[in-house]
């Protein structure tokens, strides 16, 4: 009797010790990983992977290969509208009530022809329709039909100077702290044939939760690059001086500027 008790207590002791070691090890690991995550030098080492990914993926892709286009049967029943809530500014609500007749897309920056487009003018430009898959950085995908004007058409009219290296999209939606959403593309993605400024989703005017009146579709990139509620397009040489300088709202929070994976 005493022997089995002893065995039992010894087993408990060993198991307890093992468990303790395990917990210590795991919490130690957790602390180590977390502190490494906070270390600027280590972080920039990790971030070097992004450059490798970008160069290799771009090398493999070429400039004019298209993302897969789906059939109307593939369109998602549910398409989540992530991101900020729709803009609550009175201007936005008033513009929406007037069917965007007083809204204008401003195109400027390093261009020879700064221009303003009404929604009607954008609709009269050459358009492209595509049924494509939207891939969120979180992991989900949804399919919808989009119609809009290719960004390349806008660029052709605005005539960016040779200094222009990026296109920045300034948006009307803000986060809880009041920071405006913004995004940027380089000229490779900006000139991709499937990169469009969409004003229609699934054959209807772009719904408010999906970025009315105008949103970006850039099918080579993850969802957070697809800026919604666009107000202004700016051609720039760099984006260091825009907001926190990383080229986009989520980029400023640590996400990759290159969102090809």
């Amino acid at each position: 009797m005493s022997k089995s008790n002893l065995d039992l207590s010894r087993r408990r002791l060993i198991l307890g010790a093992l468990q303790g070691t395990g917990v210590l090890l795991l919490s130690g690991c957790e602390k180590m990983f977390n502190s490494l995550q906070g270390n600027k030098k280590f972080l920039s080492l990790l971030e070097s992977g992004e450059n490798a990914t970008q160069s290799v993926q771009r090398l493999l892709t070429g400039k004019h290969k298209l993302a897969k286009e789906f059939t109307p049967q593939d369109i998602s029943r549910t398409f989540k509208a992530n991101g900020n809530s729709p803009p609550i500014a009175t201007d936005y609500i008033a513009d929406a009530a007037r069917q965007w007749t007083s809204w204008r897309l401003e195109v400027g920056g390093l261009v020879k022809q700064p221009t303003r487009f009404s929604l009607g003018e954008l609709r009269s430009l050459p358009s492209r329709s595509q049924i494509t898959r939207h891939d969120c950085v979180e992991g989900w995908s949804a399919i919808a039909k989009w119609k809009g004007v290719p960004l390349a058409e806008i660029a052709r009219r605005a005539q960016p100077t040779s200094d222009a290296k990026y296109v920045v999209f300034h948006c009307m939606d803000t986060d809880d702290d009041g920071s405006n959403y913004y995004e940027s593309l380089d000229m490779v993605d900006a000139n991709h044939p499937q990169t469009i400024l969409a004003y229609e989703m699934n054959d209807r005017a772009l719904p408010v939760e999906h970025g009315a009146p105008l949103r970006l579709r850039v099918e080579t990139q993850l969802g957070y690059k697809h800026a919604k509620y666009i107000q202004k397009i700016e051609f720039v040489a760099g984006f260091k001086n825009i907001q926190k300088g990383k080229g986009g709202y989520w980029e400023d929070q640590g996400y990759e500027w290159y969102a090809g994976i």
């Binding site: 950085v137 995908s141 994976i261």
Partner: protein
């Protein structure tokens, strides 16, 4: 004392340990990424009501319960998955903080780790593959139809239902099957399914998501393969512990492995009587044929020493496999130094 033999070349050892780190971090940062959308789907898109697997939590008047739902069947997993007790009370979280990188919920951070170590894993794996393919080492554990025929016998041997091991090289048939499937199935599929989730690569290669049945299928396959790697790793570690941890660790750190020739049972000087017996009947002769083939080809290629496995210390010593070729091992060591 048994001789030390040089078993693992320096490239194998280096890539092995880099791989250990890379796989651990890929697994843990992968779970962090999974936590951002803790559902698995099939096909191209993720309709919310069509999830195959969901790890989530319910909150009924402050009573937070974690669960995993598999094809409509819900299992309570409170304390393990779906919910974690934190300083601010129970928090919905698919995989708990101690198994994710970083430990707090941060998708962007998890992605940074995952892609950096993904590159490391791929380059490291390529280095191992090319080096050991060229020096002929990989052939030693290539699983062939001949090995497949021996799998039942090997299983019986492990289950102590068979006296003799069917092993005739450095690796037994089950080892070959495990290692070969890591190279031929797990690794290529985990890389392809990972790349299939990239919208940019999907533009370059439309067939990438298609080979899995869509991007969401690729994501599910990627997740399942991660657990395939985890189970292989646990099995691998178990075998390392079970067959002499210190000796195995030494060979993976220094390259040198102490051969365990069970001299008390089977003096290496004299041929084992049972081996002689094996040579006499014609059917056994046929069986031996491929063995000598491997030995012959090993002379041309870097040496293929038919060494005794750690299992040979077992009472049920496989007979006729303990050909000690320490001179050839020495050659391999020398060769490695030259490189």
């Amino acid at each position: 004392m048994e001789p030390l033999v040089y078993r693992h070349n320096r490239v194998t050892r280096l890539t092995h340990w880099i791989n250990t780190i890379a796989l651990t971090i890929l697994f843990m940062s992968g779970l962090q990424i999974f936590n951002a959308f803790p559902h698995l789907h099939w096909g191209s898109k993720a309709e919310p009501e069509e999830a195959l697997v969901s790890i989530s939590a319910t909150n009924r008047h402050g009573d937070v319960r974690g669960y995993i739902e598999f094809l409509g069947h819900r299992i309570d997993t409170t304390g393990l998955l779906g919910v974690q007790l934190t300083e601010s009370g129970p928090t919905a979280r698919a995989f708990p903080s101690w198994i994710t990188i970083p430990g707090y919920f941060w998708l962007a951070g998890g992605r940074r780790w995952h892609f950096f170590f993904g590159w490391l894993f791929a380059i490291n794996g390529l280095l191992y593959f090319v080096y050991n393919l060229l020096n002929g080492h990989m052939r030693k554990f290539l699983f062939t139809p001949r090995d497949a025929a021996k799998v039942p016998a090997m299983m019986l041997y492990y289950l102590h239902l068979r006296r003799e091991s069917p092993q005739d090289g450095e690796y037994n048939p089950l080892q070959k099957m495990a290692y070969t499937s890591v190279f031929v199935i797990l690794t290529p599929l985990v890389l392809f399914s990972g790349m299939a989730m990239s919208p940019q690569l999907d533009v370059a290669f439309n067939w990438l998501p298609a080979m899995f049945g869509g991007r969401q299928s690729a994501r599910s396959v990627h997740f399942i393969l991660a657990f395939g790697f985890a189970s292989f790793t646990f099995g691998h570690i178990f075998m390392v512990l079970a067959t002499g941890m210190l000796n195995n660790m030494r060979s993976m750190v220094t390259g040198w492995y102490r051969e365990k020739v069970p001299s008390h049972k089977e003096p290496p000087r004299a041929p084992a009587p049972s081996k002689l017996k094996l040579e006499e009947p014609p059917p056994a002769e046929e069986k031996r044929q491929p063995v000598s083939e491997t030995t012959n080809s090993a002379v041309v290629q870097p040496p293929n020493p038919v060494t005794a496995k750690p299992e040979t210390t077992d009472e049920k010593t496989p007979i006729g496999t303990a050909t000690n070729t320490s001179t050839e091992e020495g050659k391999e060591a020398q060769q490695d130094v030259e490189k």
